[in-house]
């Protein structure tokens, strides 16, 4: 009887000691000191057009977290792998109502709403979960910077564009909480854990 009691107590202690305090993601957005408090930059206001010809703005993501990236449908370099990895994220969080996905085209001239709709349909994804947006080119290129992404038109490249393929995780307060290289499957797996962590907060 006695060894049993001891064993049970030990097991009990072990289980509870393993429970760690809940992990929180840091805020990665640029911060500045205002009156002794750190104020973090937010993703600015935006208004783009989604694949259902619908207006997609900050309000679309109110109270939710979302993953943003930049791509174009005819991109033969990094984008297909990025899209495949975004699709993994989509599938993994398909039933999490608090996570949305937002892909911006950096080639609005060719990526019309119709083309984006076709692309999304081909992937078989829901248009109220994963938004493919187009809009004013300068506005897209500007906001890429806010999402820690670099987009440059480079006519010397065969594809005409140079861009970084980062996935960025934004929280409901419009702060960036995590990012990863969208072409690196290992990094994307770690990123999905970060998404889980953030979703616990919401």
């Amino acid at each position: 009887m006695k060894p049993f009691l001891l064993f049970a107590t030990l097991l009990f202690l072990l289980v509870f000691s393993c429970r760690q305090p809940e992990k929180q993601l840091p805020i990665l957005s640029k911060g500045k000191e205002v009156n002794g408090q750190t104020v973090y930059e937010q993703i600015p206001d935006f208004a783009f057009v989604g694949q259902d010809s619908n207006l997609v703005t900050n309000a679309t993501f109110a109270g939710k977290a979302y993953v943003a990236d930049f791509f174009f449908t005819s991109c033969p370099t990094i984008c297909p792998i990025m899209t495949r990895n975004m699709l993994e994220i989509y599938k993994h969080f398909q039933d999490s109502t608090n996570l949305l996905l937002l892909s911006h085209t950096i080639d609005p001239r060719r990526d019309t709403v119709g083309r984006l709709r076709q692309y999304a349909r081909n992937l078989g994804v829901r248009s109220d979960k994963w938004f493919f947006v187009t809009g004013n080119k300068d506005e897209i290129y500007d906001i890429a910077d806010d999402y820690f992404n670099v987009v440059i038109e480079d006519p010397t490249l065969p594809t005409g564009f140079d861009h970084s393929g980062r996935f960025v995780l934004v929280d409901p307060q419009r702060h960036i909480r995590a990012y990863c290289q969208g072409t690196d499957s290992t990094a994307v797996k770690k990123f999905m854990e970060d998404i889980e962590t953030l979703l616990h907060e919401i």
């Binding site: 990094i78 297909p80 792998i81 076709q118 992937l123 078989g124 065969p158």
Partner: protein
Amino acid sequence: MRSKAILIPSLLIILLLSCESKPYRQGEALYQHYCANCHMDDGSGLAGNIPPLARSDYLAQNQEHIACIIRYGQEGEITVNGRVYQNPMAGIPELTEFEITNIINFINQAWGNDNGYLPLSEVRKSLEDCK
């Protein structure tokens, strides 16, 4: 007698080692460089937007067209494994006919494909026809 005792095991070892090395090394390297971004490392393509090469019926049934697609690209609809794809593919004009042959023969036996061997002469003929 003694030399035979050495010769046979040596031959066996050489045979074993040669079986283990992967065929179409150049084809594989070129595939990684030119094709894998879109068609993926495992030949699976991208859901609905880029057709698969792994276990692709189109690949198996259109061997005479593959060299032309690699060199000159592909426009318009094609149906692969029952699914219609319409995104264009850019050609890769800088590849030589030898390199194209190596890529095709790598693809033909990769990821469970079993499309046999396509000799250089066939590739040459295809490229001549679609010039």
